[in-house]
């Protein structure tokens, strides 16, 4: 039996679907969710000697389950089987659900939180409990543990290389990025779970660390609600789920702990608070998404966009409009950054325009297609409040995220820049993902075609793979849910939130490393208060 399989088979790991009766458990610290926030917190606390219990709704899958086939993996590894959307169906929400959370399915892109973002939190959102410098040693440690390192230009796949070359040709800032992989085989299937464990996700790093240090894990259990008494959480109540994670088995979980840490991620963490009646602060508001639009460039040469590391380059040239020359700025004025996306047959066909023969003709050109995206940096303007999480009658989260005119204007400008970059890198044709698609073959087409196109709900696909906010940190209880010094709830003395939902804005970079660093800092502070 392999070492990771031994962890999976540890007596400290319980499959809730096969429990013969109700589970009543006690712990020093109960952590709900095992993604970037929860797993790092669990490892730090378990290694510090705390009795840690991890709770996870998703399944405990391993590399043997990661078959590189979406039919086997997407329904199991994504929230709502990959069908989650915003309330008006305008935005598709890609969010992981498994032991290891979204880190199992992300594309490995790793950035530290930009220093100016943390300064904005300090200045505008009363986040006074830590500074950028406090996070640095924790990022250093995480980068070592997860083998996070910068990609070299030579190892980029053609999809990313087109982004890199196009930006360079136009004089735009672009760079290779960092990935959390060790001896990556470049299969390209990071989004479906790494088949060879080259990705240093939580599944194969901090969760084994935590279990080795004595932490327990119960998976296939849905956290229903906290039961509070005065200003403390007394217990967590949960429902055990069947082997597919869909239906309740009829058995219950009750956890009594000295401290509870919510790490279910944006959307799910606010929903747990709302189900618990903990709504005496701005719970669920200011949820941010880095909403994404795409553009497909068709090249003479082979691209094979499903081969190689999904993401290895990024351009932040348009991330800070205020720093650009006036001639480079745009209506709407919201910053955005550019990245590449891999092509997976199910995900990408759904995002491709039209239907029937027209659709087939489009996807048949995949071998020569490079797809690039613009991710809009939401949350930094007073009139862009993001989305609000509420509860559906069933208790599941529902995100209402209105795409305002300002965002649509920014999408329109970003669509032009994507087309410009793809043509500059040699694309013979460029298609937006509108339905029907916009078609451009020269720079002269760009303004004419895109200015005449509708940018509105249901005209083009919008996605998010980065969910942030909803339980903001800060030191003003009227505008935040948890304190910034330790991420403890302002009122409830033993309740903490350690995940991406505490971010007061979006980040302007892919979020996983920001969550790792913050979690490690806050867990270390928590460990010091034994």
């Amino acid at each position: 039996m392999t070492k990771l399989a031994l962890v999976r088979a540890s007596p400290n790991v319980t499959d809730g679907s096969s429990a013969s009766g109700d589970l009543e458990l006690k712990a020093d610290v109960c952590i709900i969710g095992t993604g970037a926030g929860g797993a790092v917190t669990a490892a730090v606390l378990a290694e510090a000697g705390f009795d840690v219990l991890m709770i996870e709704e998703g399944g405990y899958y391993t590399s043997n389950d990661f078959t590189m086939r979406e039919r086997d993996t997407t329904p199991r590894l994504y929230q709502e089987g990959g069908t989650r959307t915003t309330k008006d169906l305008a935005i598709s929400i890609l969010q992981g659900k498994a032991v290891g959370g979204t880190t199992v399915v992300n594309w490995t892109t790793s950035f530290r939180t930009p220093e100016d973002v943390i300064q904005t939190w300090h200045d505008k959102h009363a986040v006074k409990g830590f500074a950028y410098a406090d996070l640095v040693p924790h990022w250093d440690a995480i980068e070592k543990r997860l083998a996070i390192a910068k990609v070299d230009v030579a190892s980029m796949n053609a999809n990313n290389r087109k982004l890199y070359d196009g930006c360079k040709a136009l004089g735009w800032e672009v760079d290779t990025l960092k990935r959390n992989v060790y001896a990556c085989l470049q299969t390209g299937f990071c989004g479906l779970g790494c088949p060879v464990n080259a990705k240093r996700s939580m599944l194969v790093t901090t969760i084994p660390d935590a279990i080795d240090a004595g932490a327990r894990l119960v998976f296939r259990v849905r956290a229903d609600r906290f039961v509070t008494k005065g200003n403390t959480v007394a217990t967590l109540e949960g429902t055990l789920l069947d082997g597919e994670g869909i239906k309740p088995t009829g058995k219950k979980l009750t956890v009594t702990a000295k401290r509870f840490v919510t790490s279910c991620g944006a959307l799910n963490s606010p929903a747990l608070f709302l189900r618990s009646g903990i709504d005496d602060a701005p719970v669920g508001v200011r949820t941010f998404l880095h909403p994404v639009i795409g553009s497909a460039g068709i090249y003479d040469e082979d691209i094979y966009p499903y081969r190689g590391a999904p993401q290895s380059a990024a351009s932040h040239h348009f991330a800070h409009p205020e720093g650009l020359a006036p001639s480079e700025r745009w209506e709407g004025g919201v910053g955005f950054f550019l990245e590449a996306v891999p092509w997976y047959p199910s995900l990408s066909s759904g995002a491709s325009p039209s239907f029937g023969a027209e659709h087939l003709a489009f996807v048949k050109r995949v071998k020569n297609t490079a797809t690039h995206i613009a991710l809009v940096i939401d949350g930094f303007h007073d009139d862009l409040a993001g989305g609000r999480v509420t509860l559906r009658p069933s208790g599941m989260p529902l995100l209402d995220y209105p795409i305002t005119e300002r965002l649509w204007s920014t999408f329109r400008f970003a669509q032009k820049k994507l087309a410009e970059m793809q043509l500059a890198s040699g694309a013979k044709e460029v298609f937006s993902l509108h339905d029907p698609a916009l078609h451009m073959t020269s720079k002269a087409d760009i303004d004419r075609v895109i200015d005449a196109a509708p940018f509105d709900v249901g005209r083009l696909p919008v996605f998010t793979a980065h969910q942030m906010g909803g339980l903001a940190m800060g030191d003003d209880p009227s505008r935040s849910v948890v304190r910034s010094e330790d991420l403890r709830h302002h009122r409830i003395e033993n309740l903490y939130v350690i995940d991406g939902s505490v971010f007061p804005t979006s980040l302007g970079v892919n979020p996983q490393e920001s969550i790792y660093g913050l979690a490690r800092l806050m867990a270390t502070r928590l460990a010091a208060r034994k």
């Binding site: 070492k3 990771l4 399989a5 590399s63 043997n64 990661f66 078959t67 590189m68 086939r69 979406e70 039919r71 997407t74 329904p75 709502e80 089987g81 990959g82 069908t83 008006d88 169906l89 305008a90 598709s92 997860l146 083998a147 992989v181 060790y182 001896a183 085989l185 299969t187 299937f189 088949p195 060879v196 464990n197 194969v204 084994p208 597919e244 869909i246 499903y306 047959p345 199910s346 995900l347 990408s348 066909s349 759904g350 239907f355 029937g356 659709h359 087939l360 996807v363 995949v366 071998k367 559906r392 069933s394 599941m396 529902l398 339905d435 029907p436 709900v457 249901g458 005209r459 696909p461």
Partner: protein, 164 residues
């Protein structure tokens, strides 16, 4: 008279376009037929419409119960001849239309001035395409052939890659 006519249109039966499926988790029997009819127009013929509709039914088990109910309602609306007459100028349920007329209905929803109809079109289209292209039968036409069996090469140590 208008009310009577409208009522008659709304009650027109759904045509059975594929063999009925007895074991559906989310979709109603009528909704299953409507979805199969949509799939016939949307996905390539290398995968059959009933397989796609069954795959969608299975996938939707994981969606929120409210989203499941909404999806059934959407298919009902798509099929219904009364709103079809008002919006698309057709007097027959979707399942009873010719393939060309069905494509016109799909485009009518796609190009509608109402965001709800556009979003409804994309919800149906995307879930059919995503389900169909998850099926390996659709891949040869794209020249797509992913590797398999790499799992045996997986690293088995949680500490692998940790720098000294």
């Amino acid at each position: 008279m208008l009310l009577l006519g409208g009522g008659t249109l709304a009650l027109l039966p759904t045509k059975e376009v594929v063999a009925p499926e007895a074991d559906l988790a989310v979709l109603g029997a009528r909704a299953f037929q409507v979805l199969a009819a949509v799939a016939k127009r949307v996905v390539p013929d290398t995968v059959d419409a009933a397989t796609v509709a069954k795959g969608v039914d299975s996938l939707l088990r994981r969606a929120a119960p409210e989203a499941q109910a909404d999806f059934n309602k959407l298919l009902g609306l798509f099929e219904n001849a009364l709103p079809g007459l008002l919006f698309d100028g057709r007097a027959l349920p979707f399942t009873q239309l010719s393939p060309e007329s069905q494509d016109r209905v799909l485009r009518s929803w796609r190009d509608s001035r109402f965001a709800l109809r556009r979003s409804g079109y994309h919800a149906l289209r995307r879930i059919c395409l995503a389900t169909a292209y998850a099926d390996e039968a659709t891949w040869p036409a794209l020249g797509y052939s992913p590797p398999s069996g790499l799992n045996a090469a997986a690293y088995d140590d949680s500490k692998v890659g940790v720098s000294a």
